[in-house]
Symmetry: C2
Subunit: 325 residues, 2 copies
């Protein structure tokens, strides 16, 4: 239907994506045929997820191309991490208004660098012309029956979160000119938005210790609430326990920082529930200071979310970020 660009699709694919990411022995046939051909690890269960980034919706049109490539893979790695799975193969569907070679070079570099770090091979894809949209599908695997789901939590389980939520939300606000911060804090927060760190190694290790897990993409309170609802329980979060970065406190002060940590999206941290009897074992095997996670509350029998501060229940009106709300 009248596409008109300087490079043919085949040339585009060959130039930028043929050997993008890790080389893996289980890729029988990668980019370049009608479909990829992959060797499933014997006896493993397959984990599959997809996420789309739309320019102007999920990232500012001004975002560096390398960050868009990184982020498109990172958000999918985070979903695989939340299942406790090991990522393996990615497919990339890239819709572009024009074949800008500099943009493509940087995009591919950002994607490839994160892919290699997690031993992910890019095995297929599709390039089309249209408004800038990036969809990645990521495949991984877990030993049968061992995947972490949202539904395994029980009343009394300890609730943990990784990293320092809220940073990405503040970084986006800085990127959009809605927030200012001292230069070093601003640079840190902006990078936390542009280059999120999916918690792949933590997710894999949590298979041994956690009963339920979800990744925080739409806001900590809302996503923890989804875990609780899927598990048929409620939750209590202690405001003063919310881990916030020094940069976020410098930008917002301690209270607003923790409010943002509860509601801002784009963190790509993990929230997970651990049986109280396993907590000592967890914290011995994966020291919190080293693995960067913290207990923030508990699951409780009564449905709904309660937020406390120094033992007193807080009012709270937000329910997290929703794409269509």
């Amino acid at each position: 239907m009248g596409q008109c660009m300087a490079l043919s699709e085949a040339e585009l694919i060959a130039r930028y994506f043929r050997s993008c990411g890790a080389q893996r022995r289980d890729v029988v046939l990668g980019v370049g045929d009608d479909a990829a051909l992959l060797d499933c690890p014997p006896g493993a269960q397959l984990v599959a997820t997809t996420d789309t980034l739309v320019a102007g919706v999920h990232f500012p049109p001004s975002a560096p191309a390398a960050a868009v490539g990184h982020r498109a893979l990172a958000v999918n790695l985070s979903d695989v991490a939340a299942m406790g799975a090991r990522p393996a193969w990615a497919l990339l569907a890239l819709t572009l208004p024009e074949a800008d070679e500099r943009w493509l070079t940087e995009f591919a570099a950002g994607f490839a660098s994160l892919a290699r770090a997690h031993d992910v091979a890019l095995v297929g894809g599709d390039t089309t012309r249209g408004p800038l949209t990036v969809t990645v599908q990521l495949l991984g695997h877990v030993p049968p029956g061992s995947a972490l789901t949202r539904a395994g939590g029980r009343a009394g389980d300890l609730l943990y979160v990784s990293g320092s939520p809220g940073d990405a939300g503040a970084g986006l606000a800085i990127e959009q000119g809605r927030l200012t911060a001292p230069p070093a804090a601003a640079a840190y927060l902006r990078e936390r938005f542009l280059l999120p760190t999916p918690r792949v190694a933590l997710g894999e290790r949590l298979r041994e210790y956690a009963r339920a897990c979800i990744d925080v993409s739409d806001g900590l309170l809302g996503d923890a609430g989804k875990l609780a609802a899927a598990s048929g329980v409620g939750l209590e979060i202690r405001f003063e326990e919310l881990p916030v970065s020094r940069a976020l406190v410098e930008a917002l002060g301690p209270d607003a920082a923790r409010q943002l940590a509860l509601t801002a999206g784009d963190d790509y941290e993990l929230v997970f529930a651990v049986e109280p009897g396993r907590a000592v074992e967890l914290e011995r095997a994966l020291p919190p200071s080293q693995w960067n996670y913290r207990q923030i509350g508990v699951l409780r029998a009564a449905p709904g979310a309660v937020l406390t501060r120094d033992g007193t229940v807080m009012e709270f009106s937000h329910s997290g970020y929703q794409h269509f709300a």
Copy 2:
């Protein structure tokens, strides 16, 4: 980043996509967690592909929503068919300008109907706001070492095509008002564009008989050329053998019909190469009149494409449809 629609993403997913398509026992966890969890068939190789449809690029904005849902899955089924594989699981990334419930109902119905026909379960996805774009990822499987690729052809192999290529190109021209045809022919051609028939059963059976296969999405001549190039050979196509539908001949006359059959996109037919010694066996096991395919030429040692008509070489300037050319 400020999405604002009437339905939450969770509600959208639940309402339209939670049980869309076939129900399969090998889906351990489908739509609704961070990722899908799937049981790989023991010993099988996994086949994975993705294709994107952009409104105004791959289908007219006026196309019925059910046709968009059908087509988004069909183009991916065609890729899996070209590998000789059996489709199993799909993920859907749907970007929508607004949550139009009527459009979504029809889209989901078109997708689900084709999915059920091929025993494909929708196991995950992502809904985002933005310009209308549909990306499907399809997973399937084949017995190890048996997948059809583009690269297995040899000089002397007979070259076949399924169906009646060119119909979809004419249907698109009719849909866009660039071509007219008698009403019955126009309706047939328009349906061939809107509701392509992926050759899944044929692809699976061809594993036994074909040495190489590709699906025709960008034009028969160009895609057959890709098969030949991947196989390290050239090809000869006999113009008078090109199968064209009665409707296409009614719309264009016999010569223009065959020219369109060579160059138009969107057919989603299969082109495949068969060792001459296996041709009798193929045509006995899969009678061409019943399975709807036809020999159109041969692979030859000399590189490049030659088109003959009644034994004489024809000049030809087109090289098929390319997304970025």
